[in-house]
Symmetry: C2
Subunit: 178 residues, 2 copies
DNA sequence: CTAATAAGTCAACATAACTGCCGTAACGCC
DNA sequence: GGCGTTACGGCAGTTATGTTGACTTATTAG
């Protein structure tokens, strides 16, 4: 009654009652592989550009989320990246020094140093984005719209509640909207 | 005509004809977010256990792929992980020393040191797997079978050809089959 | 006025990756 | 049977990215 599919016609002899369990385990193991390989090759896509500039993936992540959240506070960015202030400071320091990120004092709260991409930062972020876009777009195209919707749903299910909330706000930290 | 949704009720003035392009860009940016958050929380799932044992994610990855490929050669494992010999040596050394991985000399080729999980290694790998399984299974359950198939197709499309080949062999390096 | 918050900073450390180079043993071919 | 290649291991040094804990300063808020 737990099996909606009914028959279990297997090609190999299987221990009685274990076949569904076995199939699920295979499926979960395969999912682990999917996560590893897809993420590895997705992140690799931008590495050529980063290497040229002597930047790393941490810089890319910062550029990505600052780009998506102009005037984000340091605290909010830390919450998204889930790294420590020190780790971010190193990365952010390099990005500011090299003119990719600008910091301006908050107007409502002058303790804040709001982060925004400079034109150079926006251009770099776009170049990095393009590389990953190529991979993603190709995968989306091959898989089709239906598959993409399924992909979204599963990925959403894997992430934390807080990440889901972030995505529900259209990939922003929730303040502005236009 | 390019906009399938009809109305473009934007809060900001938008360049004419850019709406479809805009939607695709939003979609691709959202996909980057999906990759980041899902992978982050997927890998986090096993961290509690790893921390207790003083191991890292690199050890987990090695355990995972050795578990899925008993008697894998060092060279094959390096090709899967795409790290250098030195990086693997550190991780593998710890796993062997702590009794999670056994090395036996190859029979056909005695230069090889075939890697296999010991019973303790298999048990640890299973504990780590269980943590990630919970997350994946919950996401799969919520999303439904159709979505899972789409997820698979998209993830497959994102990864390299060599990774696809690996997955086509049922998540093995291609030699044995049972 | 005082406590809490936002941000920055210093020092020290851990990890997981990298490079380049060298050595040994075993395989495989001409 | 010798020689080039492969599989594996190891050394030394470097880099990228993360960590902790303690401390400072400016500013906000109760």
């Amino acid at each position: 009654m737990l099996d909606p599919k009914g028959g279990t016609r297997l090609l190999e002899p299987a221990p009685a009652g274990a076949s569904l369990l076995f199939l699920r385990e295979e499926e979960m193991r395969a999912a682990q592989d999917l996560m590893f390989f897809a993420y590895r090759d997705f992140t690799n896509a931008a590495d050529v550009i980063l290497d040229e500039l002597g930047l790393g993936r941490a810089h890319h992540r910062a550029l990505h989320f600052i780009g998506g959240n102009p005037e984000i506070t340091v605290t909010d960015l830390l919450a998204i990246l889930r790294i420590t202030k020190q780790s971010l400071a190193r990365v952010l320091g390099a990005l500011v020094e090299q003119g990719y990120v600008a910091q301006v004092q908050g107007r409502a709260d002058r303790r804040q140093r709001l982060l925004t991409l400079t034109p150079a930062g926006a251009e770099l972020e776009r170049r990095l984005y393009e590389r990953q876009r190529e991979r993603l777009a190709a995968a989306y195209r091959e898989a089709g719209g239906n598959a993409v919707e399924g992909f979204r749903r599963v990925m959403r299910g894997i992430m934390d509640e807080s990440a889901r909330a972030y995505m529900d706000q259209g990939g922003t930290v929730g303040r502005r909207r236009g």
